[in-house]
Symmetry: none
Subunit: 224 residues, 4 copies
Amino acid sequence: MAKTSSSNPRKAAPRGTSGSAPAKSTRAKRSAERRHDILAAALEEFSGHGFEAARLEDVARRAGVAKGTIYLYFADKETLFQELIRWQLTPVVGAFEHATQADVPLRVIADQMIEMFVREIYGTRRKDVIRLIISEGPRFPKLAEFYYHEVLSRMIEAFRSILRRAVARGELKSDVFVKFPQLLVSPGLVAILWNGLFDRFEPLDPRALMRAHFDIILNDGRAA
Amino acid sequence: MAKTSSSNPRKAAPRGTSGSAPAKSTRAKRSAERRHDILAAALEEFSGHGFEAARLEDVARRAGVAKGTIYLYFADKETLFQELIRWQLTPVVGAFEHATQADVPLRVIADQMIEMFVREIYGTRRKDVIRLIISEGPRFPKLAEFYYHEVLSRMIEAFRSILRRAVARGELKSDVFVKFPQLLVSPGLVAILWNGLFDRFEPLDPRALMRAHFDIILNDGRAA
Amino acid sequence: MAKTSSSNPRKAAPRGTSGSAPAKSTRAKRSAERRHDILAAALEEFSGHGFEAARLEDVARRAGVAKGTIYLYFADKETLFQELIRWQLTPVVGAFEHATQADVPLRVIADQMIEMFVREIYGTRRKDVIRLIISEGPRFPKLAEFYYHEVLSRMIEAFRSILRRAVARGELKSDVFVKFPQLLVSPGLVAILWNGLFDRFEPLDPRALMRAHFDIILNDGRAA
Amino acid sequence: MAKTSSSNPRKAAPRGTSGSAPAKSTRAKRSAERRHDILAAALEEFSGHGFEAARLEDVARRAGVAKGTIYLYFADKETLFQELIRWQLTPVVGAFEHATQADVPLRVIADQMIEMFVREIYGTRRKDVIRLIISEGPRFPKLAEFYYHEVLSRMIEAFRSILRRAVARGELKSDVFVKFPQLLVSPGLVAILWNGLFDRFEPLDPRALMRAHFDIILNDGRAA
DNA sequence: GATGAATGAGGGTTCATTCAT
DNA sequence: TATGAATGAACCCTCATTCAT
């Protein structure tokens, strides 16, 4: 009953060019790469098949490691899954919070948000991560909890601060969005879900959808 | 070596209002009841665990039948799942189409839609059926196809006819909704998903959310 | 509760001219027909799939009866199987014994045997019955026992009496066949087995095979 | 919804003489042993119960492995069955072909054949393998095909070359056996089938049977 | 650390048999 | 008698997890 021999290697994969980190022991670097490879492989497999149907053997093969190796880095399938979500979403939250601090007109922010969403979420595997949270969240209370506390509530707070500034500035006549910030992001959600389910029947342009939505709610006459 | 998988009766489901036929033979009635019991049990189990993780043994136990009995009514697990979706959603589409034919002001229709949604979807197991389609749809092309053709496209068409009338009447200045009817229903979707994932952290009143949304897009000054 | 209005029409006329049986109560006649139908259906299914893989549901459907009806006539699947063998083989033994009593030259008898074999065994479902005994016999001791006592030993005895007469008459110089009558029938067996296994690769004419065999062992110069 | 059934090593079977390689890694050796154990266990179970009725759990228990282990070596039950046949029969074909190349009198060859048959087939489990092919072949076209191409046609060819030499030498007056080599082996077949079905009622000495047969067809006066 | 062979519980599906109608 | 819906034991196969090397 080997305890996890721990000294769990650092997160954060070396992204892009391989070893830019200057002074990491080869051991530690290899370890971090392994962990990254496994997470990346898991992303593909969980995205493609869902949690239950994804097979750790396929994750291992895709990562180029043996099945047992996965258990050196992650306690079990469920932990791997949760770490995968964390690994993908944590970076964007920071970027998002940072991007919303600039004091620019609401419409400009909206355009930035749209581009950011399309570039960082819709155009990447993160789209599938969102879908995974929606699909598997109800069966993984801890996952939903992590997502709510570490991602969603921070993003909502960022939104609210933007919105409050916009109301103060008179750009928004109403404060409904402060109360229901979900209304701001719902088109993004719809775009993601539609894409996975119905794009083959009727494609949906996420940018156009979100622009139309902001035109309406910002109510500036462009769409009226 | 494979055998032709045996025949399955698949008697007509008790769509909508129950049996109006006054004199059903006991056999046929029992059969319809069994089918109904199995579908109801499957709804609970699939909702609670998802398609893969739901166990037919639990469905059987919950329905009060033996495991093998399920196979008298449904060819396999997947068929049971699809029939379940069909059984739950087909009736509401008709009701919805009928409800949207009245020639009344858009705001009245909107209020009716909200009430209908809360009563027929959000307040029932149908909410879970929607969630199931979102979760499992990507892995069940036929399911997504059925849902798109038999449910979604019909509902979208109904929406569009309402919206076109509203534009013609001058109630709507823009025709974006005719182009993106998804924007109309996105709050309902958000409400369902939020409910399953985050209600325990921060409850969300679906009626309030949807009303806020319609206030904004109908733009009549109440919320502006 | 409409009962099936029944009056189930009789199946398949009882071979050759229709009703030659003079005075059977309708009940008894119907019952015998049912039994016959089930046996005939079982012959097809067991021949085609073997004992284990044959499904009683298919037997019932083919016989035009309900699954439960089979159990009114036969105790279980195994009994049905054994009765089937008995039903098919009992008649031929008598015919065979009768045919071998004529006091004619051995070669004439041989030719008659060949024709009888081709007509009554190889050209009919009885060929499959033989195969079934070979395939399933080791797992059904009672079946092998029945076959040995009721069929084989009687046929062997008949053969031996022919052979003894032939030896006495000087038609056969040796009495090996009296000791090993199996050598007489082995080509028939080979023909049956070859037919089921390899005919598609290399057809085998049973009549030619058997004639060649008798030419050799009767050693009369035709083939020498 | 189907997954690609995973890979199967299928290391080379220990054909004929065991491992001549002196230094096998323990891993590889254990693997070959396991495969052999499973095949041997499968031989017992399939022989005793037939393909359908044999249970893989019993094979596993007999081989001393877990149920799942079988699937590390064989894709499924059917593959295990076919590999079993191949494993048993391939070696004898080569041995047989080799044995028939000596240019010795026909009667000598015949005696050698008889001894070889009794020693290598009748006295071993290969007898049961032959029975399995006969029993299951009609339901496993691929099995019959393998057997015909890899075993039977090669043996027939070997027989024919012997026979042609014998005809040329004047040892055989007729060439019927060149046309129907089945007639040469039919007593061996009869011996095998008789053994499985009727030996308990009336034992049959395979050697005596085959000698009697060859005496007759070689027609040299010993038996006349 | 890394491997991958081995494990064995678990679940979908089949089908002989029963029994209420 | 006849039916066929219902039963539930049985069995093949999968795959997360372990552990000797």
